[in-house]
């Protein structure tokens, strides 16, 4: 793995909640232009890791390097502005806003978000607004949500909310998209469609993906690289085929077992 080719590098991340050590030394890299999966049993610390990478929770130690910049401990919005967007394990749309508006919020550094521009120079952001609108409609069409554009996001079905979550993230133009279980609770047909969207986004826009996923079939089909976590540590990385041959990984993933060295610690 060439160092330069890594868009994200996580080094020895640690975080505990009171007595619970959710992360006890996580290290891995995500190569540019790949779809990398993060798998592991429930409670392995995957969401905590996503939070720590995205700045929603400060790690107690360790480093997160994104695109050559150390982003450890940066506040969430700064991480986002640097081009790393994360989604949430449970869909969190803006309920009382329309689908189209949900997307219109995403573009970053909108000049119309400054009070002085809004009050004194509204013409300045109108052109920009139009561009965002054209793009939002385009993205909605790609995701098959065009017909729903004027519905309140709270009225979407669970699966549609999943699509919206991804569409909204795309609108922010991220270089790295970190998805926390984007396919949880949706039917197999929609899983396939979401998978196609992810591949398309990587191929067309060159977006890199790090996705937490429990469905190993999807992981096998979609992901170039897999990172396995158990009890707050990264156990192994590699392709799915390589990992299947790794007895420790199989044990951890299928039984939720604790690797020997961790058990010894404690």
């Amino acid at each position: 793995m060439s160092e330069k080719n890594e868009i994200l590098e996580v080094r020895d991340l640690r975080r505990s909640f009171g007595g619970v050590q959710a992360l006890r030394g996580c290290s891995f890299g995500v190569r540019r232009g790949t779809i990398t999966a993060l798998i592991g049993p429930n409670g392995a610390g995957k969401t905590t890791l996503v939070d720590a990478v995205a700045g929603a929770r400060r790690p107690q130690s360790g480093r997160v390097v994104f695109d050559g910049h150390d982003i450890t401990g940066l506040p969430c919005h700064k991480v986002a502005l640097s081009g790393l967007i994360r989604t949430f394990q449970i869909s969190r749309e803006y309920p009382a806003m329309t689908v189209l508006e949900n997307l219109m919020v995403s573009p970053q550094r909108q000049s119309g978000e400054r009070l002085s521009t809004v009050l004194l120079r509204p013409s300045r952001f109108r052109a920009e607004e139009r561009q965002h609108l054209v793009r939002a409609v385009e993205v909605l069409a790609e995701f098959g949500l065009y017909e729903k554009r004027n519905d309140y996001a709270r009225d979407l079905s669970g699966g549609q909310k999943r699509l919206l979550e991804l569409a909204r993230a795309v609108m922010a133009d991220p270089r790295l998209l970190v998805l926390d279980e984007p396919m949880a609770g949706i039917n197999p047909a929609l899983v396939d469609r979401l998978a196609e969207h992810i591949v398309r986004l990587r191929d067309e826009r060159g977006t890199t993906f790090l996705m937490v996923e429990h469905n190993l079939d999807v992981v096998e089909r979609l992901c170039d690289e897999v990172v396995v976590m158990a009890v707050g540590q990264t156990l192994a990385t590699g392709t799915m085929a390589e990992l299947r041959a790794n007895a420790e990984v199989v044990a951890a993933y299928l039984t939720g077992g604790v690797p020997a060295d961790v058990r010894a610690q404690g």
Binding site: H77, R86, M97, M104, Q108, V118, R168
Partner: protein, 342 residues
Amino acid sequence: MGVVLGYVATLGVYFCVYNIFAFGLNIQFGYAGILDFTVITFMAMGGYMAGVAALGPSQPGSGIYYILGLSLPWPVALLVGAAAAGALGYLVGLIALRRLRSDYLAIVTLAAGSIVLGIVSNSNSLFDGSEGLVGVPQPMNGVLKLTPNAYTVFFLGLCAVIMVICWLVANRIYRSPLGRTMRAIREDLDVAEAYGKRTFRIRMTAMVIGCVIVGIGGVLTIWFVTALAPAGWGTSETFVVWAALIVGGRGNNLGAVVGSFLVAVLFNEATRFIPAISSLPNLIPEVRNMSIGALVILTLWFRPQGVVAERKARFFEVPLRTGSLEPVPMVPAPATGSGAAQ
């Protein structure tokens, strides 16, 4: 005739002033979801500061003590009042918006309101303590030389103009990307933060601009009654503004107008005609508050979005290329682009 006109104009002034309060609160709560439970403190700050800016220097012998006393012309006093309310909003926001979630934030605003009330009531040199300011000059009253009723009509015109300006400003913010981001923060602060929004700064913007607008309402209030004392801005006044916004419809400035009319004008005034019972002097204000409370409960029960619900955002329709889900390129792409995308 003049009396009726004066009375109607007085109602009109209250209507405008409550509209302004409701617009300010709507920006804070309706747009950005900030539970400001001390709206009236910012009204008072605006009123007091405009008062001491317009009054002449405090005379040592008169027994009335206040700060400043700058004898400034009324438009400048208006700006001073608005800026002071905004500055107080900024200070409260520094504490309340930094890390606190909505419920704690509400408590901080309540606490801040009590602190300000305590300071103002007990400090005789600030705004003359519990006596309050009196004799605040009214805009152009010396120049126009109108009868009291005619002056009230003139003042109504001034209030209406200022109210419409506040309304336009509030609407412009609502329709802008700034207003949209405020509402996104109201809906889910963490998500907005995860999309690179500076939530603290944007909520602070909502807090301060809301306070400035409420402060302008406060300036109009002190001009109209020419006096302001701590007894005049208790918590129950904050409750009236909240009731107006909840009943009218939060997130919608037209709702704020409808609510101000229903709650602040109709309910407030209707109770004025209930004959007073001398043994129970507090009965009428209590009845007023109880009926406003009942109105709020009924609204939340039967029409939680308020009389006028928040408007659904409409964008102009962008034509979608029919028969194809292929994206319409934002910038004209070279001819090779469309085929390669498949």
